[in-house]
C-alpha cells in the first residue's frame, strides 16, 4: 500500500478530473451578496421609503487609467439597496458629495455629478470590470444630474458587423465604445434627490431584458458601480469605481407575474459573446453529489488508515 501522501493527491486529482469533466461544481462562492428584497406591489421611488432594505456600503476606488489621477487613498463609497416585484427592479443609490453639481441647458462650465451601474450582458463569465470587452459586453445605466438617465451598452460595438448592428438598432458604425441602446430599450426611470450633502438616486428598470444587449436581472446577478463628483472635475473616465458585487434575489413570497423577457430583434444575443457555460447536470444535483463525494472521501480516508 502506498503512503497517503502519494495516494491521497492521486485520488483527489482523479475524482476532481471526473467532476470537472461532468461539469459538477461542489464548491460555492462565498462573496457576500446584496439581497434584493421582494415586494408584492409597487416599487418605491422615494429614497426615504421604509420599503427599502438596509443598504450595503460598496467601496469605490479612484481609477488610475486616465490622467489626472484621483488620489488612490480617497475614502469613498456608494450605499446600495435594491427591491423587485414581478416585473421591475429598483436600486436606491446614496453617496456623499459635498457639492451639488447639476448640468444646465447650454451650460459648459459644470461637470454634473453622476452615477452608473454596470451589469454583465452574458451570464457565462464576468466581463472585464472596465466596461467589458468586445466578446463580453456590459449594460450600463448612467444617470447625470440635470441630464437624466440613459441605458447604454459598452464593449459590444466593435465586435459586431454593420448588419448585426443595424438589426440591433445601433448605428452602422460605432463612434464610441459606449453606445446608447435604441429608443425601444430606453426603459429606465430615475428619481433623484440631493439632501444634506448626499445624492439619493432611485433607478427603476424592467426585471427582464428588452434588448439582446440589455442584461436580464430576473435571476441572481452581478453589478458594479461608479460615481462622479463634478466639483472635482470628474467626467468620462475620471471617476471612482467598485469591483463586481453579487446580488441575490429574495424568494417571491406570493405568486407574481413572470418578468417578460423580450428579444426584440432578429439577431440572437449569442452573436455578442463567445463564452458559454454548459451545464451537464442540474445545479440541485451538485448539492447531493457534493455531500456524497465528501462522505465517500471520508470513508476512503478511514479505510486507508485502517490498512
Amino acid at each position: 500500500m502506498r503512503r497517503p501522501e502519494v495516494l491521497f493527491p492521486g485520488i483527489a486529482l482523479a475524482v476532481a478530473v471526473v467532476l470537472a469533466a461532468l461539469g459538477i461544481v461542489v464548491v460555492t462562492a462565498q462573496e457576500s451578496a446584496v439581497l434584493v428584497k421582494f415586494i408584492n406591489g409597487s416599487l418605491p421611488v422615494d429614497p426615504a421609503s421604509s420599503l427599502w432594505p438596509k443598504p450595503a456600503d460598496v467601496p469605490l476606488t479612484g481609477q488610475t487609467l486616465v490622467y489626472p489621477l484621483a488620489p488612490a487613498v480617497e475614502n469613498r463609497a456608494v450605499s446600495v439597496a435594491a427591491v423587485y416585484n414581478g416585473t421591475h427592479i429598483a436600486f436606491m443609490l446614496m453617496w456623499k458629495d459635498a457639492t451639488q453639481d447639476v448640468a444646465m441647458p447650454g451650460g459648459l462650465d459644470v461637470f454634473p455629478d453622476a452615477v452608473a451601474v454596470q451589469f454583465p450582458v452574458s451570464r457565462a463569465q464576468l466581463p472585464y470590470i472596465c466596461m467589458g470587452t468586445v466578446d463580453n459586453p456590459v449594460n450600463i445605466i448612467y444617470w447625470r444630474a440635470g441630464v437624466g438617465v440613459e441605458n447604454l451598452v459598452a464593449g459590444a460595438g466593435y465586435g459586431l458587423s454593420p448588419q448585426q448592428r443595424e438589426a440591433l438598432g445601433l448605428q452602422a458604425t460605432p463612434t464610441s465604445p459606449v453606445e446608447l441602446l435604441p429608443d425601444s430599450a430606453q426603459v429606465v426611470q430615475a428619481y433623484a434627490v440631493y439632501k444634506d450633502g448626499a445624492w439619493y438616486v432611485v433607478l427603476v428598470r424592467p426585471l427582464g431584458s428588452v434588448h439582446p444587449l440589455m442584461s436580464s436581472l430576473a435571476d441572481d446577478f452581478s453589478a458594479a458601480f461608479a460615481t462622479w463628483d463634478g466639483s472635482k472635475g470628474e467626467r468620462g473616465g475620471l471617476k471612482v469605481t467598485s469591483g463586481w458585487v453579487q446580488f441575490r434575489l429574495e424568494k417571491r413570497i406570493t405568486a407574481a407575474p413572470q418578468p417578460t423577457t423580450v428579444t426584440a430583434t432578429q439577431t440572437p444575443a449569442t452573436t455578442v459573446t463567445q463564452t458559454y457555460v454548459v451545464e451537464t447536470t442540474p445545479a440541485w444535483a451538485w448539492a447531493v453529489i457534493g455531500v456524497l463525494v465528501a462522505l465517500l472521501a471520508v470513508v476512503a480516508g478511514l479505510a486507508l488508515r485502517r490498512r
Binding site: 483527489a12 462562492a29 471520508v298 480516508g301 486507508l304
Partner: protein
C-alpha cells in the same frame, strides 16, 4: 501536496485567470487560457476531495471535526437548491479549538469575524482595511524569523502592487477596495517569515474568503500543519 493544490488554485484559478484580461487574444494565448482555467478548476475540486480524505484519515479522534465539516458543507451546498444559510465561516474557528495553537486560534477568530460581518452586513464597507491589515499582521503571532527570500518576495510583491494598485486589486481578487492589494506585500513578508507554516494557508486564501473550499482548507490546514503532515 495539499498546500501545492492550494498554490495551484491560487495562481491558476484566481491570479492568472484574471490576469489574462491583459493578455492579447491569439489562438495560442486562448489555448493557454483554457488550460489555466481547467487546471485551476480541477485544483479547486481536488482540494475539496483531499480535505475530506484527510479528515477520514485522521480517524475517530477527528470525528467531531469531520461531522462539523460534513454538516456545514451540506448546509452550504444547499444554496444550490435555493436555501441560503452560510455558516461555513465557523469551521476554521471550530478546528482551531481542537488544534490549539496561537496562530490557529487567531485566524479562526479572524475568519469567523469576517464571515459574520460579511453575512450580517454584506461586508465591512469602509472598515475593510481594518480586517485586511489584521490579516497581514496575524502571522507575526506565530513568531518570526527574518529570511532573505521572504524579504525578496515581499519586495517583488511591493514593486508589482506599487506599479498599479488598481490592476493588482483586479488581479488578486481578494475582495473589494484597495487595501487588500496594498497590504499584500506586508502579508507576503509576515507569512513567509512566520515560524508557523500555517501562515501560508491564510496568505493564499486572502483576507476575504472567495470559495467554500477555502474555509475547508483553512480548517483542515490547521490539523495538517499541527500533525506535521506538511513537513513530510
Amino acid at each position: 501536496m495539499y498546500l501545492f493544490f492550494l498554490v495551484l488554485e491560487f495562481f491558476l484559478n484566481r491570479i492568472l485567470n484574471r490576469f489574462w484580461i491583459f493578455v492579447p487574444a491569439t489562438p495560442a494565448t486562448h489555448t493557454l487560457f483554457v488550460g489555466i482555467q481547467w487546471v485551476g478548476f480541477i485544483s479547486m475540486l481536488a482540494l475539496y476531495v483531499y480535505s475530506f480524505l484527510l479528515l477520514g484519515h485522521w480517524g475517530r479522534r477527528a470525528l467531531p471535526l469531520t461531522a462539523a465539516a460534513l454538516i456545514l458543507t451540506a448546509v452550504d451546498l444547499a444554496s444550490y437548491v435555493g436555501i441560503y444559510i452560510n455558516l461555513l465561516w465557523l469551521l476554521p474557528l471550530f478546528f482551531s479549538l481542537f488544534f490549539r495553537d496561537k496562530l490557529n486560534l487567531a485566524f479562526g477568530v479572524y475568519y469567523a469575524a469576517r464571515g459574520a460581518v460579511d453575512s450580517a452586513l454584506g461586508g465591512p464597507g469602509l472598515y475593510a482595511w481594518v480586517f485586511d491589515l489584521a490579516w497581514a499582521l496575524l502571522p507575526l503571532l506565530g513568531g518570526i524569523t527574518i529570511r532573505k527570500w521572504a524579504v525578496l518576495a515581499a519586495a517583488a510583491a511591493l514593486a508589482v502592487v506599487a506599479a498599479s494598485p488598481y490592476y493588482m486589486g483586479m488581479v488578486l481578487v481578494f475582495g473589494l477596495g484597495l487595501t487588500a492589494p496594498l497590504f499584500f506585500p506586508l502579508a507576503v513578508f509576515t507569512a513567509l517569515s512566520s515560524k508557523s507554516r500555517y501562515s501560508l494557508f491564510p496568505l493564499l486564501v486572502g483576507p476575504q474568503v472567495q470559495l467554500s473550499v477555502h474555509y475547508l482548507v483553512l480548517a483542515v490546514g490547521m490539523g495538517y500543519v499541527v500533525r506535521g503532515e506538511l513537513k513530510r
